[in-house]
Subunit: 681 residues, 2 copies
Amino acid sequence: MGVNSNRVEDLSSHNNNNNHANYDTTINIQNHQLSNNNNNNNNNNNNNNMSNSYERHHVCLPPKRSTIQKLKNRLSEIFFPENPLHKFKNQTIIKKIILGLQFFFPVFQWGPNYGLNLLRSDLISGLTIASLAIPQGISYAKLANLPPIVGLYSSFVPPLIYSILGSSKHLAVGPVSIASLVMGTMLSEVVSPTQEPILYLKLAFTSTFFAGVFQASLGFLRLGFVIDFLSKATLIGFMAGAAVIVSLQQLKGLLGMVHFTTQMQLIPVLSSVFKYRNEWSWQTILMGFSFLFFLLASRQISARKPKLFWISAAAPLMSVILSTIIVFAVKPTSRQIPIIGYLPKGLNPPSSNMLYFHGTFLALAIKTGIVTGILALTEGIAVGRTFAALNNYQVDGNKEMMAIGLMNMAGSCSSCYVTTGSFSRSAVNYNAGAQTALSNIVMASAVLVTLLFLMPLFHYTPTVILAAIIITAVIGLIDYQAAFRLWKVDKLDFLACMSSFFGVLFLSVPLGLAISVGVSVFKILLHITRPNTTPLGNIPGTQIYQTLGRYKEALRVPSFLVLSIESPIYFANSTYLQERILRWVREEEEHVKANNESSIKYVILDMTSVTSIDTSGIELLGELRKMMERKSLQLVLANPAANVTEKLDKSKVLESFGAQGLYLTVGEAVADITSTWKIQP
Amino acid sequence: MGVNSNRVEDLSSHNNNNNHANYDTTINIQNHQLSNNNNNNNNNNNNNNMSNSYERHHVCLPPKRSTIQKLKNRLSEIFFPENPLHKFKNQTIIKKIILGLQFFFPVFQWGPNYGLNLLRSDLISGLTIASLAIPQGISYAKLANLPPIVGLYSSFVPPLIYSILGSSKHLAVGPVSIASLVMGTMLSEVVSPTQEPILYLKLAFTSTFFAGVFQASLGFLRLGFVIDFLSKATLIGFMAGAAVIVSLQQLKGLLGMVHFTTQMQLIPVLSSVFKYRNEWSWQTILMGFSFLFFLLASRQISARKPKLFWISAAAPLMSVILSTIIVFAVKPTSRQIPIIGYLPKGLNPPSSNMLYFHGTFLALAIKTGIVTGILALTEGIAVGRTFAALNNYQVDGNKEMMAIGLMNMAGSCSSCYVTTGSFSRSAVNYNAGAQTALSNIVMASAVLVTLLFLMPLFHYTPTVILAAIIITAVIGLIDYQAAFRLWKVDKLDFLACMSSFFGVLFLSVPLGLAISVGVSVFKILLHITRPNTTPLGNIPGTQIYQTLGRYKEALRVPSFLVLSIESPIYFANSTYLQERILRWVREEEEHVKANNESSIKYVILDMTSVTSIDTSGIELLGELRKMMERKSLQLVLANPAANVTEKLDKSKVLESFGAQGLYLTVGEAVADITSTWKIQP
């Protein structure tokens, strides 16, 4: 109390020196007080609940819970945000079984409602991607130094498994270029695929098995949130970069070239194109660009008139059939227009006996499995999320990881190597109008039929037509308008997008993604390390305190400095916050001196946005209070969050603030403190 | 309006079905409205500023600024939080020059006020650490495969430079074990120190030069905030771990052993101790433990009776003198009590001609420089901050980096290798009562005198006494009580502390630090990835909305679900927040149905704590609005922060919310929306 009366004297002496403007504001507070009292009276007349409406409200500690309870609650928030079991509550056992099946096998969700209208789209898209999967399977298997037929096997079993377990509607499953390339590089560094083909094949299947185990366990352990670190901005850049790279790689087919780089970056691909200029074949180029023009035109038509969607959907398959017939009729030498050529017949043989669980190469197989597994997962889930976002449905990261993992585990036992959702084929699938995962079953069936009977029919399909189809599909995924919107709204998001784009283009897909995830995480950390602190003013006639400068009607309250801290307080920002708050106080004191106003007595920290604190933060508050005391200022906390209050209490810092240092709102703090001054008018 | 009148009908039909409790709360809102109007009238009488006090306040966009202005403002907040130039404002030119000198050379801050009372402490502590610096310099130089005398040179020039530039009062500068060890390992992998000693020496000086350049540029670029990521919790663990390791390493001297591991981890050190048990010498052990007991006892006495502080301060130097006299008198063979022995005389020769700026080994020198530079900086600043925290002063990270960097650059030109603040010697310095950086000058002078004249006097100093001094110094830094407080207040901080402790103990100092920084950053990211969302209730008679459950008096407002989002919204949590908010809505609807209350019509998101948003977050809000609309709920935002409002506006999402979707406070939102219902009583 002694301290308080001192303060009153201080203030009154200041008031004597004050100019009129300042006096006005002091009146303001009196009015405020008055009106609040009036408010109180009114409430008393009308509602007994409000009898204590102008009593000061105390800051409460959250209800006490044991460490175990807190941990349990936190873990359930971290791992089960959607509370997956809520659907099972109050259901009959049969319903529970059905819901359980639907939960684990998404096929039971869309299966029962499946109709003929959907079947047509899935049939067309399934056949279209099948027409792509066969030549791609062959070329990607070659990238991985595996026999071509393994690429076809890998387009048969995994899509079937995925269609039962997967939650994406548009993901076209099969071998992909990046995972193939990496597996080929990592394994052939140790084992020669030409000298020890059986061992090499064994290692490939074993790596696939471990990739699957790794992927499935990530999902099972509910670590799906790691994919949340792929933001929309990152994906826009990733898609554009990948689209450019994939398009450029198709120049090999489009120009009819034989020699080409296996690298993925912009520069080696382009130099490759011009290095072997003599290999360009005008017949191929003519055919390729004609069909590319046809495909792009059909897409334009469908985009302008949505009713004619079937034109662009049917175009790829039509192009394959048409070009095959043309080439069959002309029968050029393979040098003029390269064709797919002879393919052996037969179905997936079991390969579980080829898995390799001991010996010197086990470590290599596990390492290769984890690396290709991560890459495959990243591509698969990024692609899955992209098309889910385009069509407004959710892809459950954990379930997807389990689906992709199980599909690879099953694949490794049936002569398949690492598969995932393919970027280019999913784009074709989406463009061809796929509606459900049934398109994967259609594709697998088509591959089955092909493997058994139709191999010879694809003999004359020119590879150039596949290049044209892929280019058409991926070009539509370059979303420069979205990139422009990012620039307009959020510069750092644009930076993440661009680093992902240029990273993919000039470095590599995983590196590009890693850099842009790094940029995104850096952005979060920057916001935490350098949080905003803004001085607040009172909006006259209310208890509202808002940013001075932003809200013109907000006024400084004399003798008070109200600061809002707009971030949790952590070790990473406690040094900064201390410096920044001391600077605010210094600047406010200078301002007060320059304008001859009443000097500040109280510094109120609005803690509403301080949603979390650590021991460094708690220490900062204790330190600040002492520092302010040395300047004969009192530090007041307003509205500390539940866990912040709890930690302040446990560390005894709360005690040091005392009753005069802790309020529920800034408004109550100002009103309560000024009311003690008004005892002496 | 059509929508609104629909809602009113909806609500009134609900009211007919309502129980009494619910009706009560509706009345509540009416009163609220009324009292506020009264408030308004009072204000009108007294103050014209308040005429619109109960009109609804609009959410303002922040004042318009160009991208360049924003960038400039943000950068100055990031790099110059303390506004270092403010002292220079409105000063005369002479005063400005003095302030500038003080800013760049802290010696001008403490120098003018230096008195004799401080000198005594600095003299004692300077001499004490000098008595340590000589044997440590010799042994650490050996660790780096350098001639022993280089270790002494490195204890002469760098401390002088640091005492002028450095802002720590207790940092004792010189060679340190970790940087020495790493430099020795990295260089000798490529160049043999025995076969090419001159090249090796050149590379060591060149690495030191690059370490200095790297350190100084980090400081110059104001990247000092990287050290903010070393939290107090981490430092407690780091200190305890380093203290244990350093103490155990002293067992070599304390047991009089000749063979010992150069590794830093617990297990090799302990196995080393017991492997060469036959080397233990009872004479050394007797002498060592006697002096260790003496030193620990003197520390205990000083701790209990603060007036007797000089006992513990003088004890180390006394021990050195006493033990040297004893050994000189007894003159044992070196096997019984190892002594420092013969040291050559002479001063630092210049070495700038030995710097190596071209040729095949330049890359090696740069790499070694950067690695040892980082390690030296980490130790130096961690130690500096530790003692600054113990004595309540600030260490400016950027200035420290420049000081340490310049000192190494100067050192590389005067036959010194990498130096920094040493953990063990700083602890001794602190314990011996050092008051300013003058203790470093005293130490350097003592080393100078020693180098020139006193070498023979240290001939008979037993190494065991140095071990005893170091152990006494570091044991006091194991702060188990602080670790216990961490456990009580913040479990994740305790985890960071423990990972730092065990990492240093079992892995290595840099790895231990890296792991605990990782844990700390993970904690920040976890809070961002899985933010709290809490339902709020109204405290009757006020405009205050607070956490339901925590504040018993807070009541649900019927027809409203008020949720506070306690984190910025980013790509990393937008998926989670969507799931979590939908779950709150679902659970609220179930609760309402179970209790037969009026169904919810409005979901109000209190955006106060959403201090930042990215494009994923903006998309989430747009998406959520649409999702709520499909459930015929309206989504309302309350109090969005300045930059959030700005981004929402730029992305056109703000428009879609409309006037009925954006309020300054939750209270105004509820009051304004319910007031439209009251048209029909």
